[in-house]
């Protein structure tokens, strides 16, 4: 199995935080290094200079008055209240003449570092570091001037400790920050992942949580949610269509089955058998017509049907209206056509014909006898042509208007009448193919029969 880091560590944020921590550490190290050199180094230099000055001054005393003068001077210096240095004077052979130490460091000349036993003010013994220089005074003696580095060592140690602590704490903090940030980012990403997984598992009602910050995650979650809304809508629609097809086709198929069973069960007179078969064929034709309509709608949706050419929309409208006029008259409806010629659109003649045919036939079907249907073509604003069918029927309640455009949805009042429930869906699809629109509204009748005004809006050409 592959080794897997914890979730927060497998994030871009974590990798970036880590990089950031490294950069911060390098920067702090440089800064602290500089601080160290400029304090501890400076102190060391200063000490060297003071030792050199002290030695110069003792050498001057030697030149002026020889060894006796040096001894005299050393005694004075050692007894000064602000005494700062340690002194030791020996013969070249190593015999102590005077001084603070029991013996000289073994080095010959130059810089030396050694440890000395010292006495604290409370009387306890301690070991401190000392640094100094040894010089020769003529051939007579060797002189050590040293400095008790105890105090400076303490400062150096403190600074060193501070530098190391700061570096460690800095590194730790930036790592901790990185982990915290990546965990919070990872958690929010994880929420989106969970939502996506739940949706993939089939629960389309899942939504990603949106916080109050309107940050990039909130915006992402919002987009994801509206995408899911749309998806859920589409899936519900197609589920609805599937259910509706099954439902709509089940009844004619079971009727057919019953009729065939009945025909098998007992011998029928020739004319009864013929009648039964005719009815069956009619019903099969209905089923096929429904399938054809579904296929046609799918092709329209997929954009594989519909060839748009410049054509006179009012001419098509008048053709369809005149074709259907006798049916309206037979249904005792007053039928009027009002369309001037030359309303050119980019359109598919067959599709516009079928859409208008559906609208006019609907109007004929739903308008009670004695009513009125008016079909018209108008130039609408902004380069559109409106093809309008208005009737004095019961209309469609506002709340149902969007629904009846869906496949297999039929208005409450239409349920008892024959029809596939695909007519308005086709008009809607035709409008979409033409990049136009299909709107329905009240036709302005009295409240009990507001009528329906259906408008297919096409782009003028």
């Amino acid at each position: 199995m592959r080794f897997r880091l914890p979730a927060f560590a497998r994030t871009t944020t974590f990798r970036l935080s880590l990089l950031y921590a490294v950069l911060i550490t390098v920067y702090s190290a440089a800064l602290l290094g500089y601080l160290y050199v400029s304090t501890v180094g400076f102190m060391a230099n200063q000490t060297d200079e003071r030792i050199n000055a002290e030695i110069d001054s003792i050498e001057r005393a030697y030149r002026d008055g020889g060894l006796a003068r040096v001894s005299q001077s050393l005694i004075e210096r050692a007894s000064a209240p602000d005494r700062y240095f340690l002194y030791q004077l020996e013969t070249p052979s190593g015999i102590k003449l005077s001084g603070d130490l029991s013996d000289m460091p073994s080095e010959q000349n130059g810089k030396v570092g050694f440890e000395i036993d010292a006495r604290r003010p409370d009387g306890t013994q301690m070991t401190v570091n000392a640094e100094g220089r040894i010089i020769e005074l003529g051939n007579e003696a060797r002189l050590l001037v040293a400095f008790d580095a105890g105090e400076r060592g303490t400062i150096t140690r403190r600074i060193t400790l501070a530098v190391y602590t700061a570096a460690a704490v800095g590194l730790l903090l930036s790592l901790l920050g990185g982990v915290l940030i990546s965990r919070s980012v990872a958690r929010r990403a994880e929420e989106l992942v969970h939502t996506a997984e739940a949706v993939m598992a089939g629960d389309l009602t899942q939504r990603a949580p949106v916080r109050i910050w309107d940050d990039e995650f909130d915006r992402l979650a919002e987009r994801m949610n509206s995408m899911l809304d749309r998806l859920e809508h589409l899936v519900r629609d197609s589920r609805h269509t599937g259910d509706a097809i099954a439902h709509d086709l089940r009844s004619p198929l079971s009727r057919m089955r019953n009729r065939l069973e009945a025909a098998l069960a007992r011998p029928l007179a020739a004319q009864d058998a013929e009648a039964a078969l005719r009815l069956t064929i009619e019903e099969v034709d209905q089923v096929l017509a429904t399938f054809n309509a579904i296929l046609r709608l799918s092709r329209l949706d997929a954009g594989t049907e519909g060839r748009l050419v410049r054509m006179d929309a009012s001419e098509v409208l008048v053709d369809v209206a005149e074709f259907l006029e006798p049916v309206a008259e037979a249904a005792e409806l007053d039928f009027s056509i009002d369309a001037s010629r030359n309303m050119h659109v980019m359109g598919d003649r067959d599709l516009i014909m079928q859409a208008m045919s559906n609208l006019i036939e609907n109007a004929i079907k739903y308008t009670p006898a004695g009513g009125r249907i008016s079909v018209s073509a108008r130039r609408a604003a902004e380069g559109y042509v409106d093809l309008i069918v208005a009737d004095t029927g019961p209309g469609i309640p506002d709340a149902e208007r969007d629904d009846v455009k869906k496949r297999f949805v039929r208005g409450d009042s239409a349920r008892t009448l024959q029809g596939s429930g695909l007519g308005l869906a086709l008009v809607e699809a035709v409008a979409a193919v033409h990049r136009g629109s299909f709107e329905m509204s009240d036709a302005g009748g009295p409240p009990e029969a507001p009528g329906l005004k259906a408008v297919l809006r096409l782009r003028r050409a």
Binding site: E305, R307, F323, R349, E361, K365
Partner: protein, 223 residues
């Protein structure tokens, strides 16, 4: 009438042969495009019935090559698809008519018979006659027994189509397509309403009806 049926689905082909035999026609069945073209080019057939989807050579290419080779018999396309593009393609390739599956037997027979009729009467005519009914195509005038009949433009076209196919059954679908250029089925019995209007104009005042309804199929204009 001798009909060449080029259809790869054997059951459909057999069904078509039966339907044609019942109507008194003789059908020969071929099940792929290549041998279909060969048989068609033998020139023994009055009408070709061609499926669009065929093994060997598709229906469109078959008819196109048949026409390029000088073949003149009318061709009817059968297809599972009924959309505008398909119909237009079929007619451009040299087809004379187009029938989507599934089809009613009466529809197929009526279409094949009018196709053959079109073939035999290729002289341009200016006057159509059926019994005592006369149509002058140039003057756009119709008379019956010398008496003028007033017709709307669409009624004129409807009668013209019926007269050109006098003695033949024409289906409602054919009238929809040829007279009104409708390529889908309206939900209502609108064709019947138009025909009965026309009938009231040409038959009402005369004892011998000319425009007959053929049950289960369509209409026929006949003395």
């Amino acid at each position: 009438m001798r009909v060449l049926v080029i259809e790869d689905d054997r059951e459909t082909a057999g069904f078509i042969a039966e339907v044609l035999a019942d109507a008194g026609h003789e059908a020969e069945l071929v099940h792929d495009g290549t041998s279909g073209l060969e048989r068609a080019q033998a020139g023994e057939f009055d009408v070709l019935v061609v499926d669009r989807m065929l093994p060997g050579k598709d229906g469109l290419s078959l008819v196109r090559e048949y026409r390029e080779g000088g073949g003149a018999s009318p061709a009817l396309f059968l297809t599972a698809l009924n959309d505008v593009d398909n119909r237009v393609e079929g007619l451009r390739a040299g087809g004379d008519d187009y029938l989507p599956k599934p089809f009613a037997p009466a529809e197929l027979v009526a279409r094949i018979e009018t196709l053959d009729r079109r073939q035999s009467g290729d002289m341009p005519v200016t006057v159509l006659k059926a019994a005592d009914l006369e149509m002058d195509l140039l003057a756009r005038k119709v008379t019956r027994r010398g008496q003028k009949v007033d017709l709307q433009p669409r009624e004129f076209r409807l009668l013209e189509y019926l007269m050109r196919n006098a003695g033949q059954v024409v289906t409602r679908k054919m009238l929809l397509e040829k007279v009104w250029d409708y390529h889908f089925d309206p939900q209502t019995n609108v064709i019947d309403v138009h025909v009965s209007r026309l009938r009231s104009k040409i038959d009402k005042d005369f004892d011998e009806p000319l425009l007959h309804t053929v049950r289960g199929s369509g209409y026929r204009l006949e003395a």
